[in-house]
Symmetry: D2
Subunit: 362 residues, 4 copies
């Protein structure tokens, strides 16, 4: 399978940056789940490029629900949502057609598709394709929320500036889901935005780390092999362009601790089994234990920068220099956040429906 | 799918720590690949617990190839390899049956299997199950080696002690594959082993980071969505007990760099397209670009420690204190390394057969 | 997986009879395959209801290729084709909402979707959904044809009237693919059409058997278990509404013969290995042998008839009588034929790409 | 996927006729299901060759449960059952190595595996491999029986002799499951056995049709596309060697009826919705309606016959004559019956667990 993910609840995406449309087919969701078009719209807006960091307001992506929704609720059949590509400029790409943008997929696309790829604007590799994920994810997020399963993502760090850590998870998540620039500490948000602006002036780009928390997942979700909760989530998360690392509970930092520090002691609390710490990030042996699931995604610096870069012409097989034109984001981490939420929600719907049956989310 | 992974080449594992056997069924490998029982044996030996760090020599796991091999070569049909569990001590586990070992899957197993799980020795969650992966992986590693695709893993860091970085990848990999304790710098190996011994004396445990390099993978392997090379590898790697993070090209450290530093410039070298640096770790847009694929796995400290730990009795739903008996490793990272190699090889065989057809590896 | 079929080449369909659109996402086809919109259009026309048997000409379904095609060729990324639903009459279905049409899926849809299904015009169970399969199948048929793999289907029997048997397969297939009413013997075509007209006058319906031949498939396609060529084809073919049986080589008639009659003797012919007869229908042990693959699909009589029928009201749980209004086909077998061709082509593309790699069809 | 079938409950088989063992890994069954070794044993006995028709008693296949069962119950983890191959005669096959037995898979195996296949005794294509399916199926049959879902298969016809039709399904199924030669009418059983004996004397073989009924399946199982109940069952059933056709409700005979005859009228009966007839065989629109699911499998005459047959030598590419030696069954339909039951049970467990969650069968 390629552009389809999930077994019980599956998502299929399609589209090219400069083609007629991008879209998603979401299959296997229970019947009877309310579909709020306004929420889909607001989620799509979070994903859109925002020109400058401060100007978040823009016309939202138009979209059309083609199937699977009747009288405002899911029918249980595939939900097809199409998002037309408007105003794709028919600029002439032919001059730089074969100049592989460093850090981008131009060259690997050529290796795979032998030159037949629609290369305009990154084609099928464009971040634009995540609009389908966000539209489908919005339906999944709503379905989970109705079960009190909450997802929230903040920019843990960006360009070297760190946000504060999660404190009260439920409150933090609710706050994050109101924000356009998802940082817990507003001062840090300002610093990050300033950093992004400075970076833009230097014709450069930056990345960072997104941290996601999932609350109220039932214990018992995931498999010991191979469909661990970690494995399935990471599989999907690595699809998000620019994600190059996925860790649970800040694992790469914590591996140097001792077992006596890392182990999470179990305790009874109000007749529930909890752990006193949560270094295992809500997952033991690949299976959720009822504690919050916490993970981080490493988002590499946006590869599109305005400086001249060394590269090759892969048609001519010769060295070349590339200077990228047009308007590009000096950072996409604040936009990637809604994609992480969306992908997470889609994966969780799949795991939950597989565990408890197709009607569980209804 | 649960205990099966892969589409074109798939691997199915089974077994419990104290059941009659563990094993693997490896399906979809091309016919005609030589199967060397000695290599399977030596790989299994690398995975075995080694009592003390210094005594690596022990009787290897016996194993039996039940199908799929004829006259020393794969037939193209499922390769079933069974590894009997010898000398499982019928000790009485009932006293601590319901005391969830912190960091272990006892409690989540109970949430998932409702008490029917074979809990003895960790049951299906035991690291013992990876013996099947290693046996199957040995066949995959050989198949790849015949195509000059080389895999090597070293302990990048353990208990705070860092190995040197990869230099000459091909030479480093060949050296690593001769070593029982896979560290590039022998001085650092000694320090790590000393650290492990000290940790054992403190009744504690440590973890670390494994770093893997894959050489000579063809360009064009992987998908933009959802089966990115990163995503499929991470999905499988997270099955390995104790792995809590997977990053490509040390992404969590590098995200704070600028795009101008992170981007890998393309260059022509002897008529081949290469990149001058390799921060993207051989993968652009989810697809291999022909450069070495490099990734790191965060291995948490072994959860079994000899100190008294707070926990709960999940039958009685009450607080408890647990003191683990028996012999446990203060570190498993040096043993996990062969599992990482094996899983990597199995995943790559799947991706290659999917891309180039079932006979490509023959 | 539900509305998605195939592993190497997969097809996802969506839509409801009276929703905004039906459509298909075809993923995994090699890059560089020409996509002829005229051929898609003519295939869609073959599937359309034709009012009377004799009036085949009607406006074709409009469709839009949303992705995966660039400059007239496949790019290798998902091909999304949308077919808007025009002129769905907003008639009032509420009176008969809960009256299960015998032979239809109204009641089982209710069991599965709990009343949230879009029941108008059969919703997601409508034959209308096959338009997506036909559009996607047209691309697959073209790809196969370029490899000289030919598919043809005729009405083996309809309402008790039998067509002649296949003779010269290649010629027969080429002729069939020119015909709107796919019968080898034109006299029999006339008799069948007359029979359909008479049946319509009786307010009744008829079914029949479709027979399909596939030429020039390479030997070696399919698996012994479980993805036999027969099994994978039948899996997909049973999705076609009204198909209730799939046999290879007229098996249900031939099972009473002796082994000495049924076995197909191998012979050399022009240095090729062929069989003298073809009772095994081109498949031995689940794998193609290079001979034509021949199968038959039993198509039940169209369930929509104008006679009063006993049924139940499944909301009220009481007996009822239903008289269906509107315009319905007294036979759909002549329209189902293009769906069988399409499904067959999609399955074969999947099997071929899985066997020979993703580029084989290019 | 090749030798693995199913998504929520999956089955993986392996083995060659003359290798060390055949076996099965059954994954995804709910924890807590009793596993009766005696029942597995008796099911395996039904599948064994019986020398003469009348001598059914023979030593049963030995088998060993390697994992997934603890204290007599499923644990929820993979159930691995190995069945050693005893007494495989090391006879010399080299003389006829490349002479393709007509109707067998020798030649297609060669096309697929390029000569590396273990050809001895049919290798991986041998009916022997179904022992794994029967062992795994026995566990599935027991699980379903505990939910009152009953499966029974009889020989509908063999060598031209027809059994009586099903009457009281529940009683008929219970009777069939006591019988070694599964025919409802004992007189017909005697005639069939006599026919098989006569056929053996003629050095020939015969086939027939198996008819299966499944009782008490819940309504709402299956999908409209592509995982129809019919499609998923047929996919698996075609794996059984010699099955060349699958129909539901005798579809190939009934297609010549009128819709007014074929449609199954719904009625209320004791507050349940039933159909007065069951031509649709318990399935509407791919989804079960609560009525018995009834299907027939066409079993071709056993390809192994003792007469001299024309064939080719596929190494030398020349015509040849083959005379098969050894002991072969003149019919296998009476043995295939338990395989059909087993495959059916495995598929239904998968569909049920997918619909209602992994614990439903517990």
């Amino acid at each position: 399978m390629k552009n389809t993910f999930g077994q019980s609840v599956s998502v299929t995406i399609y589209g090219e940056s400069h083609g007629p449309a991008v879209g998603v087919v979401l299959d296997g969701l229970a019947p009877g789940i309310p579909v709020e078009e306004d929420f889909i719209r607001s989620q799509l807006t979070l994903r859109r490029p925002s020109g400058s960091i401060s100007t978040a307001r823009q016309e939202p992506d138009p979209f059309q629900i083609l199937s699977g929704v009747y009288e405002g609720k899911t029918t249980g059949t595939p939900i097809s949502i199409m998002i037309p590509n408007s105003q794709t400029r028919s600029k002439d790409y032919s001059a730089t057609r074969a100049l592989a943008r460093p850090g981008h997929a131009d060259y690997t696309a050529y290796c795979k598709y032998h030159g037949f790829e629609d290369f305009r604007g990154g084609g099928h590799f464009s971040g634009r394709i995540t609009a389908g994920l966000v539209a489908g994810g919005a339906v999944a997020i709503s379905a989970l929320k109705a079960k009190n399963i909450l997802i929230g993502t903040h920019i843990q760090s960006c360009g070297g500036i760190a946000d504060r850590e999660f404190r009260n998870l439920e409150e933090d998540i609710r706050n994050l889901n109101q924000k356009t620039f998802a940082v817990l500490d507003d001062d840090k948000a300002g610093q990050m935005q300033e950093k992004i602006r400075q970076t833009a002036e230097q014709k450069d780009s930056i990345g960072g780390i997104l941290e996601t928390a999932v609350l109220n997942l039932p214990a018992g979700i995931g498999e010991p092999w191979f469909d661990t909760a970690e494995g399935v989530l990471s599989h999907a998360l690595f699809s998000i362009p620019a994600v190059k690392g996925v860790q649970f509970g800040n694992a790469f930092s914590l591996v140097n601790s001792y077992g006596s520090e890392y182990n999470d002691a179990f305790r009874m609390q109000e007749n529930q089994i909890i752990t006193e710490t949560n270094h295992n990030a809500g997952i033991n042996g690949g299976i959720t234990n009822g504690m919050p699931v916490i993970f981080q995604c490493a988002v590499k610096p946006t590869p599109s920068i305005y400086q001249a870069q060394n590269t090759v012409d892969f048609f001519r097989k010769e060295d070349a220099v590339l200077e990228i034109k047009g308007r590009h984001d000096p950072a996409i981490i604040h936009r990637a956040r809604v994609v992480v939420d969306s992908v997470t929600a889609l994966v969780l719907c799949d795991l939950l429906a597989g565990r408890f049956g197709t009607d569980w989310l209804a």
